[in-house]
């Protein structure tokens, strides 16, 4: 009893730890086990050790898809980290400083979060479709009829369209969170800065950003994880095959295609081994995400604890 008493944090961590371990972590371990088997999903499993991993990296049909999908996932992360994250900080600062109409802006920027993903895609059709889209009507009205296009699906834009949808629907999340973090900066710090006579943007860079540094690093890690596990928009825009020439394919979609889609056009033995290979891909994805997240967590915490 006294051992527990001396560790009060256990009482706080334990309930969440148990629920989380049971429904979020335990299934992962049981899935990892599947990746060591040859399994089509409903028949008998055959234990094959690390054969699936070897095949994933040695079968060119699979490896090419892996490279392509991974490249797209990394592109999404890079764009999110370099464009969306700064935009979120910028928007949060404007709202924090109570720009006129800030409540309206906040609601509007966050609002795509309220809309279910298939509906967002459907709204995209209504607004950007080549024939009945409003946007194209506007272009025609301005005499730019030549420019009308079905903007949602232009193949040569591929993954960038996916990114735009992700950015539009997700920008509010980080923004709301940065806003919360800014609101926790103590009054003394801000007042000191004001006495200093720093300009509006000077305060942003010299006071606000350093104050919420940890939050930014945390959001960067989350951005990375979300980008690498992105699925919805690619699936809706390109189907299980990842679009023409796999132009919108991402890691999670690659895993999904092999596990649950019809997939033997990739060659190899994936049809008789759909779940085995699919799980293997998910495990590789997990490893890639985990190792980088591990580095990020340790680097950022080392720094903040100084």
């Amino acid at each position: 009893m006294s051992w527990i008493r001396s560790k009060p944090f256990l009482w706080f961590i334990l309930p969440g730890f148990v629920l989380y371990s049971l429904f979020s972590v335990y299934p992962i371990f049981s899935a990892v086990q599947i990746s060591l088997n040859k399994w089509d999903g409903i028949g008998k499993k055959t234990f094959v050790g690390f054969d699936n991993y070897v095949e994933l990296f040695s079968n060119p049909a699979l490896f090419d898809q892996l490279k392509n999908a991974l490249g797209h996932s990394v592109t999404i992360f890079a764009l999110n980290a370099l464009v969306v994250l700064p935009a979120q900080l910028y928007l949060a600062y404007l709202l924090y400083s109570k720009i006129r109409g800030h409540r309206f802006f906040q609601a509007m920027i966050f609002s795509p979060q309220f809309i279910a993903t298939p509906v967002i895609a459907f709204m995209g059709t209504l607004v950007f479709d080549g024939n009945i889209g409003v946007f194209n009507k506007v272009l025609e009205a301005f005499g730019l009829g030549e420019w009308t296009r079905p903007w949602m699906g232009i193949p040569e834009f591929g993954i960038y369209i996916v990114w735009l949808l992700v950015a539009w629907s997700g920008i509010g999340v980080g923004m709301i969170f940065f806003l919360g973090a800014m609101k926790m900066i103590s009054n003394e710090v801000i007042e000191a800065a004001l006495l200093d006579g720093a300009s509006y943007w000077g305060r942003f860079f010299r006071i606000v950003l350093p104050q919420i540094k940890t939050t930014i690093l945390n959001m960067l890690i989350l951005t990375y994880i979300f980008a690498m596990t992105l699925f919805d928009f690619s699936f809706i825009l390109g189907g299980a095959s990842g679009g023409i020439n796999r132009s919108v394919d991402v890691m999670a979609l690659f895993f999904y295609r092999i596990s649950f889609g019809d997939n033997s056009s990739v060659g190899g033995t994936t049809n008789v081994n759909a779940m085995g290979m699919g799980t293997t891909i998910a495990c590789v994805m997990f490893l890639i995400v985990f190792v980088v997240a591990l580095l990020q967590v340790f680097v950022s915490y080392r720094r903040t604890e100084d």
Binding site: F9, W11, F12, I13, P15, G16, L19, Y20, L22, F23, S24, Y26, P27, I28, S30, A31, L91, S97, K98, I99, R100, G101, R103, F104, A107, M108, I109, S111, Q113, F114, I115, A116, T117, P118, V119, F122, M123, L126, V127, I132, K137, I176, F177, A181, S186, I190, L194, Y200, R203, N218, L222, I225, F226, T229, A252, T279, A282, M285, A293, Y301
Partner: protein, 275 residues
């Protein structure tokens, strides 16, 4: 003091207006289409509206049983949100405020849940839920969604770590136990961030599709995203219902958010910082 922060930023304001008005336009356009009968929607999508009416809404409320789905969604939302916020603030407080070995390790452990596709781990969860006898019961979805603690724990931990220690000490000197200190002193202090977490998590729970699909089978237990999917599966055939369903799943929430969010955030923020 915050008024002094103001500055005229015309370019930023313009950007915000363009961006927000675009989003507003999309929402208003969707709402407008929801008032049109199916025939007009299909063959005169862009023509001047001839018939506007509440016919689609009547169909949604009466024939499609919208309120059953709404009730289930609300039940799951409040159940899961309560658990998520309660458990994640507790965990974050435990990790952030106390010193012990493997802190970063535990934090990382709580991140793992985000890195693996839920579709793959669903069968073990399914068996677990079956053994608990919770199949086709909303509680199953509440439990599974409430276990998604990764993001809130990760985001909240640093805030509890940063909260001033003197408040904690003085509460202890006053003779308050750990639990009281947490609920009465620390929890309110972190409320601006907790509130952000609340909003983000409630949207994730509200739009959750896959988990209810697997665990809720009968129509009387299904949630709003499943109802919307029923209409978007054959989107043109059910276009009137897809429109009005999306509007009813989105716009009321948004209006609530617009009118109350400002006040709630202000309330907790000022109350909290003054401590």
């Amino acid at each position: 003091m915050k008024t002094i922060l103001k500055k005229k930023t015309p370019i930023s304001a313009a950007i915000l207006w363009v961006y927000s008005l675009f989003t507003l336009f999309v929402l208003v356009y969707m709402t407008y289409q929801a008032f049109r009968p199916k025939k007009d929607l299909l063959s005169a999508t862009f023509a001047f509206p001839k018939h506007l009416g509440f016919g689609n809404f009547r169909k949604l409320f009466v024939d499609a049983g919208f309120f059953t789905y709404l009730f289930n969604s609300a039940l799951i939302l409040f159940g899961a949100l309560f658990l998520v916020v309660m458990l994640s603030t507790m965990v974050a407080y435990g990790i952030g405020k106390f010193n012990f070995k493997f802190k970063s390790g535990i934090l990382l452990y709580f991140l793992i849940g985000l890195m693996f596709p839920v579709q793959l781990g669903i069968v073990p969860i399914f068996l677990l839920i079956r053994d608990l006898g919770l199949l086709n019961n909303q509680l199953s979805v509440v439990l599974v969604l409430a276990s998604g603690l990764s993001m809130p724990v990760f985001l909240l931990t640093t805030f509890f770590a940063k909260l001033p220690n003197d408040l904690y000490e003085s509460a202890k000197i006053d003779g308050a136990g750990e639990w009281t200190t947490f609920i009465r002193v620390m929890f309110p202090l972190a409320s601006p961030v907790t509130f952000s977490v609340c909003i983000i998590m409630s949207m994730q729970i509200w739009n959750q599709f896959f988990v209810p699909l697997i665990f809720l089978q009968s129509e009387a237990k299904k949630t709003i995203p499943l109802m919307i999917m029923k209409f978007t599966n054959n989107v043109l055939y059910n276009m009137d219902m897809a429109m009005v369903g999306s509007v009813m799943a989105t716009v009321p929430l948004l209006i609530l958010f617009f009118f109350f969010s400002g006040r709630i955030v202000e309330g907790v923020a000022t109350g909290g910082v003054k401590g």
